[in-house]
């Protein structure tokens, strides 16, 4: 059970308070606090059979979801002077479980740090008791803003550190190279000695301020028996400084005159460069999560809802399920829902990636965060808060961006050994130069060791995969493609076979009118108008498709009289005083209509996989109407795109072979698997896998779940708000096959990017370190300057992140763009 005061989990049999046997307390402090204000922490939920009241802790779910302890942000109203600040702070601090409360008078806000979960209500009540009003601040926007501010602050600090180090570097470089720059006092002179002392002093703040993060970072890592970039840089720059300082302060330590030299330039320049690199990297990394920030920014802030008949503007987080929301042209739809009146075109591109606005009428669903274009309408909220589609997408993208691509597991194995290995190489380099190097051996040994430490860049290696993954998955979300994990993204680029479930993916999954045949004196239009009028009251999908077709052609339908359905066979009704019968041949025979003339046409139509119905008017054969599941407009193009990617496309369907082949040929399917029962779909995937293929399955996510799970990558098609995100590795928000090709293209682009990064980072380190160690010296006399090494190191990780950011320019191919 939970302590009602602080929310901590406590075992049974601990401290209790008389009269509240269901409640337990973690400490005497909480027990006392509870006894003083029981109403604040417990509410009566029930009365048991004996008439005793049952109490429940008032620690609400919201507080629990804050996971025990947290920083809570409150907005506080009513503070007029600085003394109010301390009053509110005291009120908040006195709440049990609160460690610290800080009030910002200017921002009218308070930040409360808690050790354990404290219900917001307890905090707001405490503020209210002190005479002020407080409420929780909206979390999402607040945290993302805070992060942005923090990241900006860090960037500015790094840049200040860089400019300082750079400024110090200039004179230090000048005086370090008397052979290049004129006017530098001769080596061994007292003047130069004093200059060296000055250089030693000015580089101290470079080390301790500009480079402070290297030392704190190295120290923190070493306490965990690990080492990182900070370890290498800190060791490198301090080794250079120490050697130089010994040479200045205790020259007697070096018997050889040649050994008495300084390398303060290495300390200053390397620090400046690496700090600059870190700052640029921070900037570039902030851009990798831009897609995520865009998604969060899509959230509407306010909603206009009907409350007791009047329209009121309320914050979006106060909208409840069932509220009727009013949306005007140009406004953002605040939450998910269903249109109850009015109609409009809605731009859903920000969620589905579909650029063409979608028509919304009564009964259709709308997605929160999309933008209403033309008309006004009202809708009933069906999903709010963290249940909205946008909130789900944000969560899914966030999780996916944090997942690992399998390729990273290999990198991880290396990176665990990388830094200690570099340290060992640095020591070995020192030993080799000291033992075999030319005179002055100690100088060479120190310089090469520092160069090795400075050039090695574990960051480039570590950043290579995650940054590309971040950008790639974010880019997917922008295009209406939700990729569940790095695993899925990596597997998708190896796909060679795409299995597509026919219904709902290639075809619409809803029947529509395909053929009208008129007999004798009737015209096609008349047949359709009469049939549609008769079906007007029908709720059968076949009937609805006929009515819809008539409406699309702009026909004015009559209201049918005496409508009756003959289950399994058809319907009859009186339309404009004419008796209309619509249905099977058997129904016609029963009603005495001779329909022999229609028989051959009916057979043809059914062979094409269509459902045909005979229409008779006043006992006479008038025509035939046929409905069928129709192709989606973009199916053919989408399949052509898959072919261009070199993929085999297989169609799965329960239809008979002939019908399946007919549809398959229309859209250009390579292989048709017909008459597959729903529960055999997964087996079919397994058979394809047994042929050695890497299979992607595209399905609707609900009926196809086992097949989606069996496939190497399962792509679930979503429609509207009914996105079955749980079932697939990839969810296509816009229910279109083109998303499949785009997903695979995106996967290939991302993996290519990751490979570039990894190859670059590996090549950089495996070439750079030996060169830094002086491998080229014996043969070619080439020795790398530690300054060059610092520059290379600083920009290698920036390069990796910038390369990942190139993925932001990813665009799916279209027919026109491919020859």
């Amino acid at each position: 059970m939970r302590d009602p005061v602080c929310g901590m989990t406590v075992g049974a049999g601990g401290r209790t308070v008389d009269g509240y046997p269901e409640l337990g307390f973690c400490s005497e402090h909480c027990r006392t606090e509870f006894s003083a204000h029981p109403e604040r922490y417990a509410r009566r939920t029930d009365v048991d059979s004996m008439g005793s009241e049952i109490f429940e802790a008032r620690v609400d779910d919201r507080a629990m979801s804050m996971a025990g302890s947290d920083s809570i942000h409150l907005s506080v109203e009513g503070m007029t002077c600085a003394s109010c600040v301390s009053t509110v702070e005291k009120a908040l601090s006195s709440v049990p479980g609160v460690i610290d409360a800080r009030v910002n008078f200017a921002a009218n806000s308070a930040t409360v740090d808690t050790a354990v979960a404290v219900p917001i209500s307890v905090l707001t009540e405490a503020v209210a008791a002190a005479g002020y009003r407080a409420e929780e601040m909206e979390e999402d926007i607040d945290t993302s803003d805070a992060e942005r501010v923090e990241s900006e602050r860090r960037y500015r600090l790094l840049m200040r550190k860089f400019w300082f180090a750079a400024l110090v570097s200039l004179p230090v470089i000048y005086f370090s190279y008397p052979e290049i720059f004129p006017g530098v006092p001769e080596k061994g002179s007292t003047a130069l000695w004093w200059i060296w002392v000055a250089m030693g002093i000015v580089t101290i703040p470079v080390l301790t301020w500009s480079g402070s993060q290297f030392f704190t970072g190295a120290w923190a890592a070493s306490r965990h028996r690990s080492a990182n970039m900070h370890t290498l840089i800190a060791t490198g720059i301090s080794a250079a400084w120490l050697y130089s300082t010994v040479a200045v302060v205790a020259p007697g330590f070096f018997p050889d005159e040649m050994l008495r030299d300084v390398f303060y330039d290495v300390t200053a320049v390397v620090t400046a460069l690496v700090v600059l690199g870190t700052a640029l990297e921070l900037r570039a990394r902030a851009r990798t999560s831009e897609a995520m920030k865009k998604l969060i920014g899509l959230q509407a802030k306010t909603a206009r809802v009907l409350r007791e008949g009047t329209e009121v503007d309320i914050p979006v987080n106060e909208v409840e399920v069932g509220d009727v929301v009013v949306v005007r042209p140009g406004e953002k739809i605040p939450v998910d829902g269903q249109v109850v009146s009015g109609s409009s075109a809605v731009d859903e591109s920000m969620v589905t990636g579909e650029p063409i606005p979608v028509e919304k009428t009564e009964g259709t669903t709308v997605i929160g965060a999309t933008i209403n274009r033309t008309g006004s309408f009202r809708f009933r909220a069906t999903r709010v808060g963290r249940d909205t589609m946008l909130a789900q997408i944000i969560r899914m993208v966030r999780d996916a961006q944090g997942s690992k691509a399998p390729i990273q597991r290999t990198v991880d194995k290396v990176s665990g050994y990388f830094v200690p290995a570099v340290l060992i190489i640095a020591v070995a380099t020192f030993m080799t130069w000291y033992t075999f190097g030319p005179s002055p051996a100690l100088v060479y040994a120190v310089i090469t060791m520092v160069t090795v430490l400075v050039i090695a860049c574990p960051c480039a290696l570590g950043l290579a995969t995650p940054t590309s993954l971040m950008v790639g998955i974010g880019k997917g979300a922008e295009n209406g493609i939700l990729i569940r994990s790095g695993d899925a993204l990596e597997t998708a680029h190896r796909i060679d076979t795409v299995v597509v479930d026919k219904t709902g993916t290639i075809t619409r999954g809803a029947p529509s009118l395909t053929d009208i045949i008129a007999f004798e004196k009737y015209t096609e239009d008349e047949v359709l108008r009469l049939a549609a009028s008769a079906e007007k009251g029908s709720e059968h999908p076949l009937g609805e498709s006929i009515v819809r077709a008539a409406a699309e052609r702009g026909f004015v339908l009559s209201d049918p009289d005496r409508f009756s359905a003959v289950p399994g066979h058809g319907i009859e009704a009186v339309v404009d005083d004419r008796r209309v019968v619509l249905g099977t041949l058997k129904l016609m025979a029963d009603r005495g209509v001779s329909a022999g003339a229609a028989e051959t046409r009916l057979e043809e139509l059914s062979e094409q996989g269509k459902t045909a119905m005979v229409v008779a008017v006043d006992g006479e054969l008038a025509g035939v109407v046929a409905v069928a599941d129709t192709l989606k407009e973009d199916s053919t193009e989408a399949i052509a795109r898959l072919h261009r990617l070199g993929l085999e496309v297989v169609m799965l369907t329960g239809d008979n072979h002939r019908t399946a082949k007919a549809i398959g040929d229309q859209v250009g399917i390579d292989r048709v698997l017909a008459e597959v029962l729903p529960d055999e779909k997964a087996t079919q995937i397994k058979l394809l896998q047994a042929e050695g293929k890497t299979v992607a399955m595209v399905g609707d996510g609900i009926n196809d779940a086992p097949a989606l799970a069996q496939a190497d990558v399962g792509l679930a098609m979503g429609t509207g708000t009914d996105v079955a995100m749980e079932s697939g590795d990839v969810t296509l928000v816009k229910g279109s096959l083109t998303g499949v090709a785009t997903s695979i293209e995106l996967s290939k682009a991302t993996m290519r990017n990751i490979h570039q990064n990894l190859v670059g980072a590996f090549a950089y380190n495996t070439l750079g370190i030996p060169i830094a160690a002086g491998l080229l010296y014996p043969a070619f006399g080439i020795l790398l300057s530690p300054l060059i090494a610092g520059a290379a190191m600083a920009f290698s990780s920036v390069t990796v992140v910038s390369n990942a950011n190139r993925l932001r320019r990813f665009k799916p191919t279209h027919r026109e763009e491919v020859s």
């Binding site: 049974a12 947290d70 923090e150 990241s151 028996r225 690992k404 200690p420 020591v427 030993m431 995650p466």
Partner: protein
């Protein structure tokens, strides 16, 4: 003579590096058990994970509560690859991650770049 000394010192330094980073095994911290039977451990994230080795019993739920106390973006996310879990770690907030190690073994958690590492040892 000095060459021999320097090389001896260098070799022992290499030995020390190998021992410190790879061979020495931290003993680890035993996770506490809360009232609802969850094995819970608080981990401070600052240049690494403290503690970085958590000992738990297999087959029972584990809750690791991370608290990141630094601005370095390297540690902004913790990934438990074996369980397919990851969590963003805003500075200063406690972020719980829950999972159940079904079998005995060592389960690593790390930052996204794999530079900071820790593990849960289930027995």
């Amino acid at each position: 003579m000095d060459v021999i000394l320097v090389n001896l010192a260098g070799l022992s330094l290499i030995g020390l590096i190998v021992w410190y980073f790879w061979l020495s095994k931290p003993t680890g911290t035993l996770a506490g058990v809360t009232g609802d039977g969850v094995q819970e451990a608080f981990i401070v994230v600052k240049g690494g994970y403290s503690p970085d080795t958590i000992r738990v019993s297999a087959g029972r739920p584990v809750r690791l509560v991370f608290n990141r106390q630094e601005a370095d973006p390297c540690s902004e996310r913790v990934v438990l690859d074996a369980f397919g879990l990851s969590a963003e770690l805003p500075q200063g907030s406690n972020v719980p991650v829950e999972f159940t190690p079904r079998e005995a073994g060592s389960y690593e958690f790390a930052c996204q770049m794999g530079m900071l590492r820790g593990k849960v040892v289930a027995t």
